[in-house]
């Protein structure tokens, strides 16, 4: 019972933070809101008993991604003075309509679908051993490929972003 209420608290907070990301007037505000929503997602993972993934989420998103974003903002001096002009582009209203339609569509599908009848309302307990087992046994090859991708990505980033010495 308490868990449920807690869940709803986190859900509402998460939604508010997400709305904040997409509607904030300042880029820095948007970035902060992003940190909050990512953290909220991490909380959701805890509710789903996959604590390991929650940990990964916090570490990577909260630690690396947001730092990167803030760094980029600083480097390009976008956050220093306020943005000149509106941050919302010319197709704002139409985008709202599209997004709303999409939300309604997905919601309708989610609710109307006949899920297999014998699932509990409570999620199963997923142990970290299980995660490790599946990750390294069934998806071992993919794991290695992903690491290659990471390598290529950071080399690429260095190449693109370096400054030529004239």
């Amino acid at each position: 019972m308490a868990t449920e209420v807690l869940w709803w608290v986190f859900a509402v907070g998460l939604t508010a933070a997400a709305i904040g990301v997409v509607t904030a007037r300042s880029v820095i505000h948007s970035a902060i809101m992003l940190i909050l929503s990512l953290a909220g997602i991490g909380a959701m993972y805890v509710f789903l008993t996959v604590e390991f993934v929650a940990l990964v989420q916090f570490l990577i998103y909260g630690g690396a991604v947001t730092v990167l974003v803030l760094l980029a903002l600083m480097l390009t001096r976008m956050g220093a003075e306020g943005e000149i002009g509106d941050l919302t582009g010319s197709q704002g209203p139409f985008a709202a309509v599209v997004a709303a339609a999409l939300a309604i569509l997905l919601t309708v599908v989610a609710i109307d679908t006949a899920w297999p009848g014998d699932i509990d309302d409570a999620p199963a307990n997923i142990s970290i051993e299980k995660i490790g087992e599946v990750l390294f046994q069934d998806f071992g090859a993919v794991f290695i490929l992903i690491s290659a991708v990471l390598l290529v990505a950071f080399i690429g980033a260095i190449v693109i972003a370096r400054q030529e010495d004239d």
Binding site: Q91, A95, V98, A101, L102, V109
Partner: protein, 629 residues
């Protein structure tokens, strides 16, 4: 050399044509002797063919080779030699020989001399093939070839605009008839499944084709004959064809090509007889032509034009004979006419050359003193044409009048007799104004002189034939020459009848001759034009009508201008505005415009493209939901 090898007679001139067309220019004398040799060889070989044919009992000879096979249908090409063929070969080869010899003198010094002789050869070859063909396809090919040779020769002096116009007119007019012939041939094939003439005749006699269908088919075939033989209303091309060299007029437009129509009808006469009503139509067409051309010849002043109208009329006579069922009479008149008409044309050519290219009677007169041989032969030809006893024309015209007595009421005989009177009249007029009386133009008269031997010898030979060829109608003469019976008996093997002189009719024919000639004399003797001009002024409207050839040419031209060209304008409007502007240009421009409109989608702004993706996903999801749910 037997009758089965008769195709060689056509092959020799054809080979000569090929050789002369390619190498003629470089030969000594440009190869005119080669032409004479080629056609001479055909003429000589003809006698072997004749002998073989007669010794075989005058049975038709067939020789063919398989040509092509398409599924079940086998096409064979070959020759069929019977009495009609023999007569035609005789006429064609002899007259062609005379014309070739004559041309050596007449065409001397003309440009493209070698080409003239070459085309004469191909013409002779095609004509011979036409009369020997055993199936309608081969006949049609030869028919067209003959038409092309005629076209080339009429337009021989193509530097003159009038000559090219005349050649075009001849070809187009005969073309209309040829289309009819082709339709008829195809209809016959469709009904009987074969092109072979004898097979078709047997099939029709067995009653394989329905009456209406047969009538329509033969009407189309007769159209072809009408076109080629210049019968009304297709006669307009023949007078204009006089633009060609005079020997050509003699050969093609008097003796041989124009009789191709007569030959065709004669060959297919068994079928015509079974097509109800066609015989009457043939007779009426021939009769109309004979009368109309007689009127038109009376007012002409160019000697060649008078002869041209005369030819049209005499062909009408032959068709009347065919329409009355007498193939023998028609072929007989064909033969005698070929001889004396070719004679008249060649003599006219002699006059033309002798007076340095003067054809108008207004400038001639009194030439018999200066050109005696020409005058004498011309006189013989005229008498034969008018039907004077005992020249050839008398006998053949008499046979035709005899044949027309089959028609009830005798109206055919009377009308034909009237046409014969006119023939005698205008022939006399022609002779008097050209050769007798006092010369109308001093200048021309002084320079006139007789023509060389190469030209006068053919004249004399043809004159001799014009005198004696009529006698083959007698049984005795026929027997002596080797044919069983007289000429008509020889030709039409189905119902031979012994020739008997119908004295009443003979008297009638002579009376006709006398009437026409004396009337002519009375009008024009001593070169007097006052009587004829008085007649012309007495009825100016009528005179103008006849003089302008009943305005038929103007009628045709108006039809072409209004109807044909009008239709062409409509079609061309459609082609330009509908097909081109709307269809072709229009679709191209539409595409371009669509491209122009669509390019505005490429705004270059990423959010727009992202919107596109989002919308696409939404639409697809919606469709999937609607379709699946």
């Amino acid at each position: 050399m037997g009758a089965a090898d008769a195709w060689i007679l056509a092959a020799i001139p054809a080979a000569a044509f090929l050789f002369m067309a390619v190498a003629g220019r470089g030969l000594p004398r440009q190869g005119d002797y080669l032409g004479v040799l080629a056609i001479g060889a055909s003429f000589v070989l003809f006698f072997f063919v004749l002998q073989d044919f007669l010794s075989g009992g005058s049975v038709p000879v067939v020789q063919d080779i398989p040509w092509t096979q398409i599924g079940d249908f086998e096409l064979r090409m070959g020759i069929f030699v019977d009495q009609i063929t023999i007569v035609m070969i005789a006429v064609v080869s002899f007259v062609a020989l005379m014309v070739n010899v004559f041309s050596i003198g007449y065409m001397k010094g003309e440009a493209r001399y070698y080409w003239y002789f070459a085309v004469l050869q191909i013409f002779a070859a095609s004509m011979l093939m036409l009369v020997m063909a055993d199936n309608l396809l081969l006949l049609y090919v030869a028919w067209e070839l003959v038409g092309v040779s005629s076209f080339l020769l009429i337009g021989f002096f193509w530097e003159k605009r009038s000559a090219t116009e005349a050649a075009k007119k001849a070809f187009i007019t005969t073309r209309i008839g040829d289309v009819g012939l082709l339709i008829g041939i195809l209809l016959l094939w469709d009904a009987t499944g074969t092109f072979n003439i004898q097979e078709i005749i047997h099939a029709v006699e067995a009653g394989e084709i329905g009456d209406t269908r047969l009538f329509v088919t033969m009407a189309f075939v007769f159209l072809g004959a009408m076109g080629k033989s210049a019968q009304f209303p297709f006669h307009v091309w023949l007078p204009d064809a006089m633009e060609g060299p005079t020997p050509v007029s003699a050969l093609i437009h008097a003796a041989t090509m124009v009789v191709a129509g007569v030959y065709l009808v004669a060959r297919l006469l068994p079928i015509f007889e079974l097509a109800g009503g066609m015989m009457l139509i043939i007779t009426i067409v021939g009769l109309t032509t004979a009368l109309l051309s007689g009127f038109m010849a009376i007012t002409q002043t160019d000697i060649k034009k008078v002869l041209a109208y005369s030819t049209i009329g005499q062909l009408g006579f032959m068709f009347v004979a065919l329409g009355s069922g007498e193939v023998g009479a028609a072929m007989f008149h064909l033969m005698t006419h070929a001889f004396f008409k070719a004679l008249l044309f060649l003599a006219a050519g002699s006059v033309i050359l002798g007076t340095h290219h003067n054809q108008e009677m207004a400038k001639l007169g009194g030439l018999w003193r200066k050109m005696p041989i020409t005058a004498t032969t011309f006189a013989i030809g005229s008498l034969a044409l008018a039907g004077a006893f005992p020249l050839a024309g008398f006998w053949s015209k008499d046979e035709i009048l005899l044949a027309t007595q089959g028609w009830s009421g005798g109206w055919v005989t009377i009308l034909l007799g009237f046409a014969a009177v006119m023939t005698a009249f205008y022939t006399t007029r022609l002779f008097i104004r050209t050769f007798l009386g006092s010369p109308r133009d001093k200048e021309v008269y002084d320079h006139a002189r007789e023509t060389p031997l190469t030209m006068t010898i053919p004249l004399m030979l043809l004159a001799a034939l014009a005198i004696v060829s009529g006698f083959v109608v007698f049984q005795g003469v026929g027997d002596a020459l080797g044919f069983p019976g007289g000429f008509p008996e020889f030709v039409y093997e189905l119902t031979p009848h012994k020739f008997e002189i119908d004295w009443g009719l003979a008297a009638g024919s002579t009376a006709i001759f006398v009437t026409g000639t004396s009337f002519g004399f009375w009008m024009y003797w001593r070169g007097r034009l006052d009587r004829s001009t008085a007649v012309a002024e007495w009825q100016p409207g009528l005179y103008r009508l006849i003089d302008r050839k009943f305005f038929i040419d103007e009628l045709y031209q108006a039809t072409i201008d209004r109807v044909l060209l009008g239709f062409s304008y409509v079609v061309s409007w459609f082609d330009r505005y509908v097909v081109n502007d709307t269809g072709v240009d229009g679709s191209a421009q539409m595409t371009g415009y669509a491209g122009y409109l669509l390019k505005f989608i490429q705004t270059g702004r990423v959010p727009n493209y992202a919107m596109g993706i989002a919308l696409g996903v939404l639409v697809l999801a919606g469709i999937a939901l609607a379709a699946g749910g």
